[in-house]
Subunit: 462 residues, 2 copies
C-alpha cells in the first residue's frame, strides 16, 4: 500500500473502533498474546535471520555490538517479558471514559468532558523489535490506531510479530489495519506529511531520530531529543545525600535520558563535600570536566590530587560544549555558581527541561528550585533517575516528553487520550442558545457542578 | 528589538516570573485596569486615528464595513466590557498549583504532579484591538508570558493599549517584557521559527490566518481553522426539537464557528419533519443547498414548492464543494443518508471535528453518535451554538481547538497550563534508585496514593 492508503486505512480503522467496548479491547490483547505464543517458532526463526545478518554487520564494523543485543529476542527473559507486558497493559485501568468536568448548564442540559482516544499514532523506533508488541498493546488498550516503524535491521522480526498481531486482530471487533507496520524511511517521510490522518507522532530512539522528526513534521510530536539533567548541590547540601544522589544520578545507568550530565556547585558549598563527591565519582570511573573554580578546589586537595586517576579523569571543561552535551557515558560536567538563582538560570538555559534535582537542607531553596526550574521534573534530595513511568507508578511508559503541551515528563496511558465534550438535552423541546441571555423571556445559565463520577448516558457503550 | 531579542526577553520574563505569587498577579491585573482608565483619553485618541484611517479604506472599497465596527473601541459598551473583562479574569480560580496525581513512591519520597504555566505564548489576532487587553489578562492570570500581534489597521490602538499595560507592569513584580507586542508580518514569520523560546501559538481570526500559521510553524498551534458543524436528524427525531435545534444552530449567529453548515437527514425521517424544518429555515431567509433526495421531497410538497422563496432559496447542492464549505452565512447544505452509521462516517469525513449534534429520541442512537463522532463536541438534541467557553461555564474562552492533543473544544484558562512533577525526599539520606528492585537489599516501590488536595511543600510560594 502507498503511505496515503496506509494512513487512510488507519483512520478508518480508528473511527470504526470507537464503538468497541473496553472488554473487547482487553480480549483482543489476550488473542494477540495467544497468537504470539502460537507463532513463537516462526517469529524466532525470523529473528534468527535478523540477528545473523546483524552479526555480520557487527563483524564488518558497520553496526555496534549493543545493537545486536537489543535485536535478539531470545536473550534472557525477553520473550516472556514481552508476553507478560501485554497482560500488564491489559490489566491497567481503562484511560477512556473518565469524566474531568461535568456541569448542568440548565435544567436537563448536561455537559460532560470525557476522556477518549486521540486517533492515529505513528510510532517510530529503532532496534528493539519487541517494541512492536509493546506499542500495539498500548494502542489497543487506549483506543488509538497505530502505524509502526522499526529499524531496518529488525525487519524480519517486526514483520513476523506484526503478522501474528494482525492475524489475532482479524478474530476481534477491531479491524486488522488497526495496527500496521511500515518499513522504509521514504514511507515515514510521506506519512509525516499526512496530518489529516495522523494525529500524533511518537519517536522512540536516538537524539538524531527524534530531532529529525521534530524538524520535519507539522503533526504533534511527543518525546524528547535530549536528556540533559542536572544535579545542583546547594550551599546547605547534606554530605551523604550529596554523594548518594550525585552518584546514583550519574552511574546507575549512564546511557539513560534521566542520567545526570551536569553537576552544579554552590560556591558556598563546603569544600569537603565537593571533594568527597568527586572522590566517590572518581572511584566509580567517572570523568569530571570541571570549570576553573571546581578544578582548583580538587587540585588543591592532596587527597584528591594524589589519586591515580586524577590526571586522566579530572579535566578542564570546554565551556562551549561540555555544558550542552548529553554524554550518555561516565562523564560529568561540573560548574560552580554563586547563588540559587544563578543555578536556576543556568539550568533553565542549559538543561533540556527533562529532570533536575537540588540537594539542600533549606526548605526555602527547595521550594524556589521546584517552582522556578522550568523542567518536567524538579526533584529535592532525590536521584534524577526516578524520572520514569514505572517508578512514578503508571504501570507502563509510553515515553518521556520534554514538550510543554499535552503531556510532560514520563507519559503513561493517560498521555494517549484526549477528551471530548458530550452535551445532552433531556428537555422536552431540545435546548437552543437563543433562549439564554438577559432581557425578556431569556434565562441565565445554571452552571451547577455534577458529580465527576457520573459517566454520561451517551458513553454507556464504553 | 529584533524578533530573536523579543522572544528571548519573553522567555526571560517568563522564567523570572515563576516565583511570583498568584496574589501579585491579581494585583498586576488591577494595576493594568487602573492604567487603562488613567490613559483612556490617549487610547481613544489613538483609536480615533485608526478608525479614521480605516473609514477611508472602507470608503475606497479596500476594507469591509464590519471590520470598522470591530475596530471602534467607543462603540456601545466595548470600553467598559474590556475593563470588566480584566476583573472577571482576575476573579477566576488560579489554574496553577492544582495537583492531578500524588503518590508516595517510598517512605518519605513523595511525588506530586502540579499544574504550572506553559511558558511563552504567541497570540496573533485580527482587527479587534481589545483582544490585547483580554489576552494580557489571561496570560498574567495563568502565569504565561505573551507576545501579541494585532491587525495592521489597529496598530495605533494596540500600541496605546500595550503602552498602558507595560507601564502598569513596571510597578509590579512582573517584568514589563512579560507582555510584548509586535506589528509586522515579517516579525511573525521570524517568531514562528523560534521554537526554543516560544511554546504555544494561538491564532484568533480567519480560516486563512489560522491555516497559514498551522502550515508554517513547528511550534504547537492551538485553535481551529474551520468550524464545519453538522446537525443530523435521526429517523426518530422529534419535530419540535428538530425545528428548534436546526434553526438555532443555523441562524442564531451564522458567522460563528459553532454555527451549523450541514444538515443531515436520515432517509427514514418522516417527510413532514423535513418539510417543516425547511419551511422554518426558509422563513428566516436561509438558502438550502440540497442533495437530490432532499430536494425532491421539498419540490413534491405543494406547501413548500409554492413558497415565494422556493425558486431562489432551494437550490441543488454542488456535491464537490457545498459539504466542505464553511459558509458563515445563512446558507445550509442538506444531505440525505440511509443510516446512523453512514451519518457518522459522513460527519467524520466532512466535518472539521468541531461540534456536531444529533436530534433523536433513540437512546441507542444518541449513545452511538456521541461515542463514534470524532469531534470536540458531540451533542444530543441541543444546538451546536452551545460550544463556547462561557456557555460551558469556564468564565472565559482562550479559543476553540479542533486539535487532538492538549486541549480540545472551547478552551478556558486550564488550556494555558501544563504540569510538572515535583519529587521530594524527606529521607535521612536522600533517595536513590539503585536501592529499588528485586534481590538482596533491594526494596519495592510503595506507590501509595496521596490525597490529591495536598499541595507539595515545594509549591508553598504559589
Amino acid at each position: 500500500m502507498e503511505p496515503i492508503d496506509i494512513a487512510k486505512a488507519s483512520k478508518e480503522a480508528f473511527e470504526a473502533s470507537q464503538a468497541v467496548r473496553h472488554n473487547e479491547r482487553v480480549d483482543a490483547l489476550s488473542k494477540i498474546k495467544d497468537a504470539l505464543r502460537h507463532n513463537k517458532a516462526t517469529i524466532l526463526e525470523a529473528n534468527k535471520l535478523d540477528v545473523q545478518a546483524a552479526a555480520e554487520e557487527v563483524n564488518a564494523g558497520r553496526l555496534s555490538a549493543p545493537l545486536l543485543k537489543r535485536l535478539d529476542l531470545t536473550r534472557s527473559d525477553k520473550w516472556d517479558s514481552m508476553l507478560q507486558g501485554i497482560s500488564d497493559v491489559a490489566a491497567l485501568p481503562d484511560p477512556n471514559g473518565k469524566v474531568s468536568y461535568a456541569s448542568e448548564l440548565d435544567d436537563g442540559l448536561r455537559l460532560h468532558r470525557v476522556s477518549c482516544p486521540i486517533g492515529v499514532l505513528l510510532v517510530i523506533f529503532e532496534s528493539r523489535p519487541e517494541v512492536v508488541v509493546n506499542i500495539a498493546a498500548l494502542a489497543i488498550k487506549s483506543g488509538n490506531a497505530a502505524i509502526l516503524k522499526g529499524g531496518k535491521e529488525s525487519l524480519k522480526t517486526t514483520t513476523a510479530l506484526s503478522d501474528a498481531i494482525r492475524s489475532a486482530l482479524s478474530q476481534t471487533s477491531l479491524d486488522k489495519n488497526y495496527i500496521q507496520t511500515v518499513h522504509s524511511r521514504g514511507e515515514i517521510s510521506s506519512l509525516l506529511e499526512l496530518d489529516k490522518y495522523i494525529d500524533l507522532v511518537i519517536p522512540r530512539g536516538s537524539n538524531a531520530l527524534v530531532s529529525s522528526i521534530q524538524q520535519n513534521s507539522r503533526i504533534p510530536v511527543m518525546g524528547h531529543a535530549d536528556g540533559l539533567c542536572t544535579v545542583f548541590l546547594d550551599a546547605t547540601a547534606n554530605k551523604e545525600k550529596a554523594i548518594r544522589v550525585v552518584l546514583d544520578s550519574k552511574i546507575d545507568y549512564p546511557a539513560a535520558c534521566n542520567a545526570a550530565e551536569i553537576l552544579l556547585l554552590h560556591t558556598d558549598l563546603p569544600k569537603e563535600i565537593w571533594t568527597s563527591v568527586a572522590t566517590a565519582l572518581l572511584s566509580h570511573g567517572v570523568q569530571l570536566r570541571c570549570d576553573a573554580p571546581s578544578l582548583a578546589l580538587l587540585a588543591s586537595d592532596p587527597s584528591v590530587a594524589s589519586l591515580p586517576t586524577f590526571s586522566t579523569h579530572v579535566l578542564e571543561a570546554n565551556p562551549s560544549s561540555d555544558f550542552t552535551t548529553e554524554f550518555l557515558d561516565t562523564i560529568l560536567a561540573v560548574h560552580t555558581t554563586p547563588s540559587l538563582s544563578s543555578a536556576v538560570s543556568f539550568i533553565n538555559s542549559h538543561s533540556s527541561h527533562h529532570t533536575d534535582s537540588i540537594v539542600t537542607e533549606s526548605e526555602s531553596s527547595a521550594s524556589i528550585f521546584c517552582r522556578t526550574v522550568d523542567s518536567a521534573g524538579t526533584f529535592v534530595n532525590a536521584s534524577t533517575r526516578f524520572a520514569d513511568g514505572f517508578r512514578y507508578g503508571f504501570g507502563t511508559e509510553v515515553g518521556i516528553s520534554t514538550g510543554r503541551i499535552h503531556a510532560r515528563g514520563p507519559v503513561g496511558l493517560e498521555g494517549l487520550v484526549i477528551y471530548k465534550y458530550v452535551l445532552r438535552s433531556e428537555g422536552s423541546a431540545g435546548h437552543i442558545v437563543s433562549e439564554f441571555g438577559v432581557g425578556e423571556g431569556k434565562r441565565a445559565f445554571k452552571h451547577a457542578p455534577l458529580g465527576s463520577d457520573s459517566i454520561p448516558a451517551g458513553f454507556d457503550i464504553v
